[in-house]
């Protein structure tokens, strides 16, 4: 079994329901996110369009975070999920630096690394991840990539040619796909990050003794 995620960006309307469901389900502290929806505006007035991109851990087959973790706190479980053992994590932040998707953060409460686990605890109880349940338009599709009859496999087969992953050139082989994504959705360098449009960007969390600089 290899679990994977697919987001149909044609369907996503940026309601952030998945983001909130994830926060509640996993008790993600203030100022940190396992899953977030990024809004990017494209074009010049009046020809403008707003795009929404849910961003979470890609559960890469060749995960740099798993490779760099000195204590195997980040590890694969049998269903392909890259899970994290917060009791073992030493907080070196190697995984934060190694992840090419910026999907890992230091939990300000536990001072350990944390990230999306595809709600591994829910899956163990045969439930869907919280974000999948919360999505009102079923833009989040989750399932077994090795099962050709699963919803995600069928979706990938139907939308061949329009299925993408983030930063494929990094060789990480993500198990997280997007349908209908363009450069602006998937490449963080294709959009300008202006000041004043970020949530909680002024919050400070407890840092190691060295601080920020």
């Amino acid at each position: 079994m290899k679990l994977g995620f697919l987001v149909d960006l044609h369907l996503c309307m940026g309601c952030k329901g998945c983001e909130i469901a994830c926060k509640v389900e996993n008790e993600v502290p203030l100022s940190t996110w396992r899953l977030r929806v990024k809004y990017v505006d494209v074009g010049t007035f009046p020809e403008t369009k707003r795009t929404f991109t849910p961003l979470r851990c890609n559960h890469c087959e060749n995960a740099p975070c798993e490779r760099i973790c000195p204590v195997s706190a980040l590890h694969y479980i049998e269903n392909g999920i890259v899970n994290i053992d917060k009791e073992r994590c030493i907080g070196c932040a190697g995984c934060v630096m190694a992840c090419p998707y910026g999907a890992i953060y230091i939990d300000p409460e536990t001072q350990t690394a944390d990230k999306c686990t595809y709600c591994a605890h829910r899956i163990a109880s045969s439930m869907m991840p919280a974000c999948v349940v919360a999505c009102p338009v079923e833009a989040n599709i989750f399932g077994d990539l090795e099962d050709p009859t699963s919803n995600i496999s069928k979706y990938i087969q139907v939308h061949q040619g329009d299925v993408q992953v983030r930063k494929p050139e990094k060789g990480t082989n993500p198990h997280h796909y997007y349908v209908g994504g363009g450069n602006v959705h998937l490449n963080p360098l294709a959009s300008f990050r202006a000041e004043g449009y970020s949530l909680f960007d002024k919050l400070t969390t407890k840092m190691p003794v060295g601080g920020h600089h």
Binding site: K38, I68, P70, I90, C92, A93, Y101, I106, A190, G210
Partner: protein
Amino acid sequence: MVHEAVAATHAVVTLDVGLPGIVWPWFVTMNMWAKSIGTGVIFMLFYLQKRHGDDPAVATLRFPVAALSIVFITIFLLFTLADLHQPFRMWHIFFYPHWTSPITIGAIMASVFMGLISGLAFFSLIKKDDAAYDKLLLWTMILAIPVTLYTAALLSMCTARELWQMPTETVQMMLAALLAGSATIILYDAVTGSKMKEESIRSMAIILGLAAATSFIIYMSEFIFGPMKAEEVTVILEAVKGHGEYATMFWVGQVFAYIVPMALVLLSIVNRSNGLLKLAALSAVVGLWVVKHVWLIIPQLLPMS
């Protein structure tokens, strides 16, 4: 090119979360800087013994070099520990080791290295056994090589922070150790009354000058040609170009670590002036910290998502 892409798409982020910013702070700079000195002096003593073994002052360097190495490797280890968000779990590295991680390999090698330099101190200060010291120095010098280099592996495993490339960082780590090691020996000799023979000091000066020149050439190559290779490098180097956030600091580092030492080493050799050489050594040690800091920080400014 990024600006073209952004201009082409007219795309702007209008709602997102704040990005984490600097994750590895100046403590990691201290780590790399102190390690360069701690292993560099070992390389220098080994070289001096082989090349200038007839210099009586070289024989007196055994304990001072061991002591200097212990001091700076201790600084390196303490700052590494302090940078952890869970420092009291450091022992997990030894009890749950993950062998693909340079952090694991580095921690174990650094611990063994600490044992070896402590052994050097023991043989020189307590046992006063020069033969045993010199035998142990060979193994210490050999281990100093991977201890110097492992941080390059760690940086290169940071996917998408493309400024940190494995072959380049490996060479830069070794050059930093040679630069810092030779500069520290020059400064030590100056502080203790300039007892080393002219040829020995000249060797240190040449190593310092060549290490500075080679490092400078590599940094300038990356500065000029790096943006032609990867989009990420283009964006990262914006921080040190023009009015970039770290442009001043970058050039201060390059001047103090490389340009001033290169010039002063040359002048000191031509004029046989030890005074200029001391200045070169001091400038290199100070400048190296700045250079390492800028190169550590700027890839962390890159938006990853």
